[in-house]
């Protein structure tokens, strides 16, 4: 029988072939896996973006000026729309805390003062 001589280089090449084959397989699997992950992520981002769009639309829908006006009229009874006379030109025109008694009559609306005094009584 002829001696079957295996050259070292053949073994090495075979080893390399197997190694590169399995590496190729591993890489291609990894790529597919990452691509899937990326697709899922893209989908999640898109669905989040869609969610943000819906929420922004809802926010602006709930902040419609006519709705805010109706709500303010209903719940902020102590406050009323600012008339030009209510605006002061500079911050210096606002009375100091010490002179509250005199200043308050001009700045605080009448209803608010009544409420405040009621609160004082209950205390």
């Amino acid at each position: 029988m002829r001696k079957f001589v295996v050259k070292l280089s053949t073994v090495f090449v075979l080893f390399l072939a197997i190694l590169s084959g399995s590496a190729l397989f591993w890489v291609s699997q990894k790529v597919q896996q990452l691509e899937r992950e990326q697709r899922t992520m893209h989908q999640k981002v898109a669905s989040e973006e869609e969610g943000i769009r819906v929420l922004t639309a809802e926010w602006d829908y709930l902040n419609r000026p006519d709705r805010l006006e109706a709500l303010a009229a209903r719940y902020l009874k102590t406050m009323e729309p600012v008339a030009p006379e209510d605006l002061l030109k500079s911050a210096n025109a606002v009375p100091e805390k010490g002179e509250e008694d005199e200043g308050a009559t001009q700045i605080v609306p009448a209803q608010y003062k009544e409420k405040k005094s009621e609160g004082d009584k209950t205390q």
Binding site: R36, T40, E50, R53, R64, P65, E69, P81, P84
Partner: protein, 570 residues
Amino acid sequence: MSRKSPFARLTIRIMGEKSGNLDLVRGRLVLLATLFVVFYAGVMVRLVDVTLIQGLIDDSDSYIGAPQADNEEEQSKFRADIVDRNGVLLATSLKTASLHADPKIIVDPVETAKGLSKIFPDVSYGETLKKLQSDKRFVWIKRNLTPDEQKKILELGDPGLVFDYDYQRFYPQGALTAHMVGYDNIDGKGLAGIERSFDHLLRQSKDPMKLTLDVRLQHILRREIKKAISDFTAKAGAGVIMDVNTGEILAATSLPDFNPHAPSADPKDPEMFNRVTLGVYELGSTFKIFTTAALLEQKKTPFTKKYDTSEPVKIAGYTIHDFHGEKRPLTIPEVFMVSSNIGTVHMAQEIGTDGLKRFYTDLGLMKKPEFEIDEVGSPIIPSPWREVNTLTASYGHGIAVTPLQLVTATSTIVNGGLKVTPHLVKQDEDPISRTRIVSKETSLKMRQLMRLVVSSGTARKADVEGYMIGGKTGTAEKNIHGRYSRDQRVATFVGAFPIDDPKYAILVMVDEPHPNKSSYGYATAGWVAVPAVGRIVSAAGSLLGMKPETDMVDISEPLKQFVSAKIGEH
């Protein structure tokens, strides 16, 4: 050869022949075995791939209700957002689910139909059952579901119910900006307003489109005009707030308006008509602003010059009267203040037909203005233009323009004299014009005259303390089928504030107002449009960041010397 060394020869021969065959056979066997090994290895690898690797990842993205990958049809129905100048959404595209069914796959049509009619009150049980039991493979159940409805349908759990995802246009502000923003149809095609004129851009772009409107001002304007319409049982109304320097429209409303989610199918319905940009009206005495400006600019006539208003002007079969006749010679400020038609006609005679026509053309009153939406009306100009047309046009009769043109021309007069073009789409740089129409001096004089009208003339009800308003009223009889009607009028106020250095122009127009008790039987602009302007400016002033100036000198003060004390008694 075999006899010499038969064994060797035989061996050689046999060895030779057999080894050849054997090698061949063995080679084939090895090849076959290798092929099988490779094949089975391939199958093995593929098995691992499919069952372990892909199988594990797969179940993360196959649940029901996940947004489907964008296909081309969905792409084409997406439209870019439209926002106001502060970024508040005016129109947006939202992905909504629509429900259809495949009757072949429906497991239990009776139960499903019951469940569906429970979720949607407007879907009847009988009809749905009929649909679900039909032989078709595709029946629509309901379009554009809310997320809540979608959840309930998923809970029904019938495999024959299928969702379709698509973009639908949504207008968070509702009717507030309907005439300017417009609306689109079920296929995502813009049919009016910005939606129509920028249809192509909105389909392609992803970035929001910014308009010059401010929803807060828009709301104030709409609220007050609505109030004026209901107070005076009027037919319709319109209003504009414009930046006098850039021509940006901060608010524009046309009432009645419509719900852009359910626009009327008939384009002739009154609520579908854009009165700001498409409607043309004879706007009456507000045109005296332009006639007086033309006189001051072209003839440099001093304020002291008097015009005799004692006799009505008769020309070519027409007689021009005054509403409140002073019946004496009036100075220019007096003519403007009491809004004398006769005095203005005399001014027009002094200016001449060519001069007046040229001036109106410069102001953009004679031709269709360029604007960013398609619904723009062409003015109605007398043709041929005779001398009598010059005289009537001087006080706004026989010439019909859109309210947008009126407020634009007024902006040009008061801003220092630079030509203004109206804008609805926000530009990166403020569009300041360099074309001069009237001199700074004329502009100042006109502002003084307009202030005089508010401080002591026909528009006293717009005198808001702190924000100096100036303007001009106009009450015009409507031309119905060629005849002027005494009862059907258009009441207009156009002006600017603060008048000493104008920033904003404002227009309020009320169509066919009727007198009420509080107006003592009057339905003129001074009673109808002017109080609304006062309310709008006092509400909008603080929003616009304007400080009320209470100790300012009234710029109409110097004109008081030209005004006789007798005026204002009626």
